[in-house]
Symmetry: C2
Subunit: 315 residues, 2 copies
């Protein structure tokens, strides 16, 4: 397949880097400033070098990308809320032009799910979004293969930054502010970590899961969300005396989405450590399934994007 990649952050760059290994060509890469376009296939190493050097990725613009002959638009621009723009318009353009869309951008899938599916229904292209939930962990493909109707709930830890902070607070007896600073130094938390620590990032993922289970009906405002910013170190000490710890746990069913700190047994599957994520699926006929792995990272999320590309039908 020929990929047009919008977004040259960690995910977009990793998709460009790994695409050929999965047998695909990259015909376009665009960041917010410029675009590189070559219908015969870009020299992705050169594009990535220019980006790394602080130079423009190319001499074209977004319209040049849309006018190229590509098969799949990879939407890896930053997640935005509410109207999910400009990502939503990117997706709309591709589907109107009968191309496939693979999203790593959570915005359109969490905030405008029904609009997205309506555009898909009118298009010869298909929409997939494994990379929006759980990084490298096969979450949406698992639900798809079980069929959504056979999955009654999805629960788990889907934000590695918050999980890392809680793990370190418990392990070292340090307070939240101290561990947050450590996480930022390590690059595990961003300069503005708000969406990770206030539960928004996890909530967007569980909203997406609820939309898949219920075929729409949810956006971020429907989620009940509590973050980890107010957890004192003493709460973790108290939990430990009882053989428990605290994790930022989310749950999605057909009826609701909730994210918040929960007490879990220390040896529970949900008590993943560090930046690791875990998802538990409750199913009608197969009991409980659990999948864990790296929930974030450029290469990790890129494997989810490329996995989706592999599951698209030929155009």
């Amino acid at each position: 397949m020929r990929l047009a990649i919008l977004g040259a952050g960690a995910v977009g760059r990793s998709v460009a880097d790994l695409a050929s290994e999965y047998g695909h060509d990259v015909v376009a890469v665009a960041d917010s400033q410029s675009a590189a376009v070559d219908a015969d296939g870009l020299d992705t190493d050169a594009v990535l070098e220019r980006k790394a050097g602080g130079d423009a990725v190319g001499t074209g613009d977004l319209e040049d990308v849309f006018e190229t002959d590509y098969d799949v638009l990879v939407e890896a621009t930053p997640t935005t809320l509410d109207d999910a723009e400009p990502g939503f318009s990117h997706v709309e353009r591709a589907l109107t032009d009968d191309r496939h869309v693979v999203l790593a951008n959570k915005g359109p899938v969490a905030e405008r799910y029904e609009d997205l599916r309506a555009l898909e229904a009118e298009s010869a292209g298909s929409v997939r979004f494994e990379a929006t939930v759980g990084g490298a962990i096969p979450v949406l493909s698992t639900i798809e293969d079980e069929t959504p109707q056979a999955v009654t709930a999805v629960r788990g830890v889907l934000n590695g930054t918050a999980n890392f902070i809680l793990t370190r607070m418990a392990a070292e007896g340090l307070d939240y502010e101290h561990v947050l600073a450590e996480a930022q130094d390590l690059g595990v938390a961003e300069a503005d970590p708000t969406f990770d620590v206030d539960g928004t990032d996890a909530a967007l993922k569980f909203v997406i899961l609820a939309n898949v289970l219920a075929d729409g009906g949810f956006s971020l405002e429907d989620a009940t969300v509590e973050g980890i910013q107010n957890i004192p170190g003493s709460a973790l000490d108290l939990a430990a005396e009882d053989g428990r710890t605290i994790r930022l746990i989310g749950e999605a069913t057909r009826d609701s989405v909730r994210v918040g700190p929960r007490l879990v047994p220390e040896n529970s599957a949900l008590a993943v450590t560090g930046t690791r994520n875990i998802v538990q699926f409750e199913t009608r006929h197969a009991g409980s399934l659990a999948s864990s792995g790296r929930g974030a990272g450029g290469p990790e999320t890129a494997t989810a994007v490329l996995s989706d590309v592999g599951r698209l039908p030929r155009r």
Copy 2:
């Protein structure tokens, strides 16, 4: 899709029972004695009642099944080794007739992988076999989505009977013979539990995994296999003093297949309890993924069969 189900054991019966929920029709069910065939779709409740009552499932025979207009042959007859017959011939007939094949029977996939793929290459039908490894856990689909080249090793616990026995030996301080009898009473171990306790069942699954990673080259005789029959209760006591336990662990890479009892930390992900299974995937770009769940059972394995049916291309 129209399913023709060979085998009316726990798996075959569950597939017949759940097929309509997944949107499929069952046009044939055969056990070793007889076959029920109806090109317009069988009354699966009636067929299952006859089987439960000890009566013949139908008035037809195997040839009647093959002459029906079906889309997918579900091969759920008992696993056999070496020439993998009669299962292999069933698969051969279906592929020669350009039908799809979904296997729960491990024999053809473990023992005659290259023959199987050669038949598939000549056929308009496709072969899938998620149900042969790990019951309800999405194992082969995960490797397929990552692409086999990106997976460097697969490791884990894939026999619930052996795992149950080891879990109980450790928990209760009982010896092997005692816990095996308990397992048989509970239906967790068969009257003849040999393949479960000597590691053969697990080895067949890891042989299948190696075949997928390396695109062939392995059969059961290539695996290095040790079972759990000789583990004394004292070994588990000794392990516990060191914070460890013993599990029957298998590993498949492109180069080798090994199954044997291993010491693992008590809180390790590999130390699953009871009949639960777990699979860890080492990947090139996404670190380590792990999936756990119910590795056996009629409905559990049927969900894997039906998941495969859902991933088949239209004939």
